[in-house]
Amino acid sequence: MSIKDIQNEIIDEFSMFEDWEERYQYMIDLGKDLPLIDDQYKTDSNIIKGCQSKVWVHADLKDDKIEFTADSDAIITKGIIAILIRVFSNQHPKDIIDADMDFIDKIGLKEHLSPTRANGLVSMIKQLKMYAIAYQTQLK
């Protein structure tokens, strides 16, 4: 599936919820399915800066596509990174770099997009795209 298709799928899923509580509950559930980072990569250098909770991300290149794994010590943050990884994992670096992130707004998480927000959603997106840029350079 393309990044756009996955985003639309997530928008569909979130559109079923009537209030913030259901949305958050779903996000927490998504966090439970997060492809977990291998312990050896859970290092300080893989921590994303700018989050009040700790978020570790690791990226591997397989068949020209990036596979992300991650973890967080906070469960809501884990849900947020899980959504991002579902969108970006197993995609070509170039598609990740070019991806439009409007869907965040459409699933009612816009409040998390503020750059000063303590959970650092913006930092997470930036970090994932940085990995894509790094692998894109390798592929050239």
């Binding site: 913030w20 509580e21 958050y24 509950q25 927490i28 009040q52 909770s53 700790k54 010590d73 906070a74 469960i75 809501i76 943050t77 303590a118 959970n119």
Partner: protein, 404 residues
């Protein structure tokens, strides 16, 4: 008589909604809300007599100067300082601390000791680390125990003829512990050391008497006492303030300038370079008037009831642990739910319109001591109610249900 419903009417912000819910503001240790009486003074300043002070011969400047100096006297009276010129206006506690730290850089030498408590806010650690780097003095830490209290025998053991400065907060921002500053000041003075007390977290609840305490420096921020942000004070004993060199150069702080030499102005202007936050200073005075009209005895008695109510109700929640269990506490509760990150709890509470602080509260050494990433901190002011605490308690229960 103390009536919380009447008091709440003074605070316009308390009637707003957050995320569709009535605001429950429990982040008072970060900043307090502002009553209409103080807002009116701020509006009044800019509407009627905004002018630069101490320089103009014109009427507005004279009016602004008078009000500004009256505010200084209000602060002097509030803290019972001997002289008005012992009150220095600053931009807040952090600025006040830096002013003293900078002053001491000329007075300290290698081998001197500075004692700080393990309960300090970062703003009260970093300036002393910088000072030690500059002077070769040693920074020594007074440790704390599991209840979040300072270990006084350890403090006694650290004191020596090398001790030049002791820095302790009156009340810990992260845990709410009230420290035994009377004892600390007395003992430090036996060794000839100066004592600076950080009153940022005590002044919203307690009215300190700097002469009775015999403290050398006492600092506070207006915005934690129903005043505006960017305004604060430094009290210093006259003898110490005369000894310390000026902090910043600029206008206001000079008596005479030639290219050869500048003579500094007398206290307090020596430490007040440039155009100050005139409106902020005047509003600080108004905030002190406002709090004194309610009365600090009534405030602390009522806040203690809130603290007891909240402690009791929160502890009924299984798996909830309170950090900072000193017998002497202000109305602050730092807590965690077992196995749940404080950030998650804070996020859910925000959705319910409840404002709390989450994180390390700029006191990472305390969090390291307890081996936790941070806490959820609910801090109560005299305008909070038991009903609001009940909203917090059910919010925490909801967060626990959603996050477990």
């Amino acid at each position: 008589m103390f009536n919380v419903e009447t008091i709440r009417k003074d605070f316009p912000i308390l009637s707003r909604k957050v995320n569709g819910k009535p605001l429950v503001y429990l982040d008072n240790a970060a900043t307090s809300q502002t009553p209409q009486q103080v807002i009116d003074v701020i509006v009044g300043y800019y509407s009627n007599y905004n002018a630069n002070i101490h320089r103009g011969v014109h009427t507005l400047s004279q009016e602004a100067t008078d009000k500004y100096e009256q505010a200084r006297q209000k602060i002097q009276n509030h803290f019972n300082a001997k002289h008005a010129h012992e009150i220095i206006f600053t931009s807040g506690t952090t600025h006040s601390i830096n002013l003293v730290a900078n002053g001491f850089s000329t007075l300290l030498k290698k081998g001197d000791d500075i004692l700080v408590s393990a309960l300090e806010h970062h703003s009260n650690i970093v300036p002393w680390q910088m000072l030690c780097e500059r002077t070769g003095a040693n920074l020594k830490v007074i440790p704390m125990n599991q209840d979040g209290e300072l270990v006084i025998p350890e403090f006694d053991a650290l004191l020596s003829k090398n001790t030049k400065l002791v820095f302790v907060n009156h009340v810990s921002n992260a845990l709410g512990t009230v420290n035994p500053i009377e004892y600390i000041i007395k003992q430090a003075h036996l060794y000839g050391a100066a004592v600076l007390i950080d009153g940022a977290q005590s002044t919203p609840h307690i009215k300190p008497d700097v002469q009775a305490l015999d403290v050398d420096f006492y600092v506070a921020s207006a915005h934690k006492m129903c005043g505006p942000t960017g305004e604060g004070m430094l009290y210093g004993k006259e003898s110490w303030l005369k000894k310390l060199p000026p902090y910043q150069g600029g206008g206001e702080m000079i008596a005479e300038v030639t290219f050869e030499k500048t003579t500094y102005a007398d206290l307090p202007y020596k430490f007040e370079a440039g155009t100050p936050n005139i409106c902020g200073g005047i509003a600080f005075g108004a905030a002190i008037d406002y709090m004194n009209a309610i009365g600090f005895d009534a405030i602390s008695k009522y806040e203690h009831e809130l603290l007891e109510h909240a402690t009791e109700k929160l502890l009924e929640i299984e798996g909830l642990k309170i950090y900072g269990t000193s017998k002497q506490k202000t109305s602050v509760i730092s807590f965690n739910l077992e196995g749940i990150h404080p950030y998650d709890v804070g996020t859910i509470l925000d959705k319910l319109g409840i404002a709390v602080r989450t994180g390390h509260h700029c006191a990472q050494p305390i969090m390291d001591y307890f081996n936790i990433p941070g806490t959820v901190r609910a801090s109560f002011a005299f305008y909070n109610t038991k009903e609001e605490i009940d909203v917090l308690v059910s919010g925490v229960k909801k967060a626990k249900m959603m996050l477990s």
